[in-house]
């Protein structure tokens, strides 16, 4: 450590990189961090894959008429979105906040909205990988999807916005450990009670109408309407998701603490 510097090596030459380069670099780093994290992979890849294979191949839950995979695959797509946009993002961002990463980046040339854009891009890239994986496995299990791909895309995007808002709200207000516990608990509860693998009509009538308003129910129900039954644009479910997105993102914007 006695290497001497070239004279003038540190001479100031400040400047921000072009915005597009900053955001791309940030999104690439966030995606690498996510894919490198074992617990995150468990949540985003392994659990959805296992559930897809298990519930499609073994008749555990009565999924109604037709192939089980036609019922299960849309639910797993919804679960994949939730695992990345909500659970993964909440836990990741919660610990970034705890360890001063958000604080350090806040004084870098990358503006805050640029950081949020990069986070969104990273979530979307991860979701594309998840959707590809789920689709390939589902096809191998004999899946025959119907409907308009545009409706599916719209549901996935609005669902991502809804879950991102809720995830960031949690990450920006609770302690990292509390976020870790709560995000996992919510993931589990919504997995069971949100129509992902257990049809909502298995629940009592009173519970059904309340559960139907959950973002995960709206997303899995909407995806199922289109992919299993070939329905047109599921406006009701999209409306529920959009409402969650507006409320969640607005609350996150208002209450998020950077450190």
């Amino acid at each position: 450590m006695t290497i001497t510097a070239d004279k003038g090596m540190y001479a100031p030459k400040p400047g921000a990189a072009p915005l597009s380069r900053m955001i791309t670099a940030q999104a690439a780093l966030e995606t690498r961090m996510l894919l490198r994290n074992g617990e995150q992979l468990l949540l985003t890849v392994i659990i959805p894959t296992l559930l897809l294979v298990l519930f499609s191949a073994v008749d555990i839950v009565d999924t109604g008429a037709g192939e089980a995979v036609d019922f299960v695959a849309p639910g797993i797509l919804a679960l994949a979105v939730m695992s990345t946009a909500f659970t993964g993002q909440a836990i990741g961002t919660g610990f970034e906040r705890r360890y001063g990463v958000l604080k350090r980046l806040a004084s870098s040339p990358l503006p805050r909205w640029g950081l949020m854009t990069a986070k969104t891009a990273s979530v979307l890239v991860t979701e594309v990988l998840q959707v590809l994986l789920v689709t390939v496995i589902a096809f191998a299990l004999g899946w025959s999807p119907h409907g308009n791909p545009l409706a599916v895309l719209l549901l996935l995007i609005v669902g991502t916005a809804a879950f991102s808002g809720l995830g960031l709200l949690m990450a920006g207000t609770l302690k990292a450990e509390a976020t870790l516990a709560a995000a996992n608990l919510v993931f589990l509860l919504l997995l069971v009670g949100g129509g992902v693998i257990v049809p909502l009509d298995k629940f009592p009538d009173a519970a059904q109408s309340a559960l139907g308003l959950l973002p995960i129910s709206a997303l899995s129900d909407g995806l199922r309407d289109v992919l299993q039954h070939g329905a047109g644009m599921p406006w009701g479910d999209l409306g529920i998701l959009a409402a969650w997105a507006v409320v969640g993102l607005a609350a996150a914007g208002k209450f998020f603490r950077w450190e």
Binding site: M1, A11, K13, A17, A25, Q26, V101, R104, P111
Partner: protein
């Protein structure tokens, strides 16, 4: 050297609930290295974090490189580098990966490999941040603060917990920064660090700057200095006192060991030695005890423990 101050804080007030952390603080820092010292809870972190744009002043104005750190972040952030006291890195990221990332956010970054070599970070290899040693984490944070070639660098306790070699390496880098025209705001608890590095020292206590000046000025002013010498026992201290300026004190502490307290300058030293010559005294072991910055600090901020 630029004449315009890098930091201008005027009448800064910052409260947390009913606790006033910073209470009408004024601070001007010029080019070069400015050390901000203060006991825990004195308000120095709040002051520095307000300059970094992390906190919004309740009242008063803060200008960094002439810019408002809350409103003009787009202009300011590329021109400053921040080293946090701890953290700031993804726990799963490798040192070189994080440093390269921060470099990518800047238009003309330093050569990352050279910086890694300079700070001995090459040995971190593929280890993730959470498994690095405390010293490696510190040096990475320092590297992240300078890699964007900023004009002004904020260093928060950059050598806390470092071994002596790493400490020297950090000091050398800070000196090189100054040499190359980068200004530094240095928060530290190590008085020798401030004495070694700083051109200007600001001591903060009770939410205000209570003293500011170069280390020499601070050590000279305020505290009295001491001159000691040994000679034969029983010299006429009264006659020595008469030869000295009026505000000086002289005493034989133990037989043959004498102390003169007062403003010790070359004139005083000459007075003492010529008095010795007149009295046929050989002043063995004559020494001037200069007050250290730590003496001054303790004198100004008190010796009782802070929270």
């Amino acid at each position: 050297m630029r004449s315009e101050p890098v930091l201008q804080v005027q009448a800064l007030v910052k409260r947390y609930g009913d606790k006033t952390a910073v209470n009408g603080l004024d601070l001007v820092a010029g080019a070069g290295i400015t050390a901000v010292l203060g006991p825990n809870g004195a308000g120095k972190t709040t002051t520095v974090e307000t300059c970094e744009g992390y906190r919004r002043p309740d009242s008063g104005t803060v200008r960094v490189l002439g810019l408002d750190p809350v409103r003009q972040t787009r202009e300011l952030h590329p021109r400053i580098g921040v080293m946090l006291q701890s953290g700031g890195v993804y726990s799963g990221a490798r040192a070189d990966e994080m440093l390269r990332h921060v470099a990518r956010l800047h238009a003309h970054p330093l050569d990352v490999d050279a910086l890694i070599e300079r700070l001995g970070l090459g040995s971190c290899g593929r280890t993730s941040y959470r498994r690095l040693s405390g010293g490696q984490q510190q040096r990475l944070a320092l590297a992240m603060a300078v890699v964007g070639r900023p004009e002004l660098v904020f260093l928060d306790e950059p050598t806390a917990g470092l071994d002596p070699q790493a400490r020297r390496a950090t000091w050398d880098l800070v000196r090189d920064l100054k040499e190359d025209g980068v200004s530094v705001i240095l928060t530290t608890h190590y008085m020798d660090e401030a004495e070694q590095l700083a051109d200007d020292v600001a001591i903060i206590d009770g939410g205000r700057v209570i003293a500011q000046g170069s280390p020499e000025e601070l050590c000279r002013g305020g505290a009295e200095n001491t001159l000691r010498f040994t000679g034969r026992p029983g010299l006429d201290v009264g006659s020595l006192l008469k030869a000295l300026p009026a505000d000086c004190a002289a005493a034989e502490l133990t037989p043959g060991s004498y102390r003169v307290a007062g403003k010790v300058d070359p004139q005083l030293l000459a007075t003492v030695t010529s008095w010795c010559a007149q009295h046929g005294v050989m002043p063995d072991r004559i020494s001037v005890e200069r007050h250290t910055l730590e003496d001054v600090f303790l004198e100004l901020t008190g010796k009782e423990l802070r929270s």
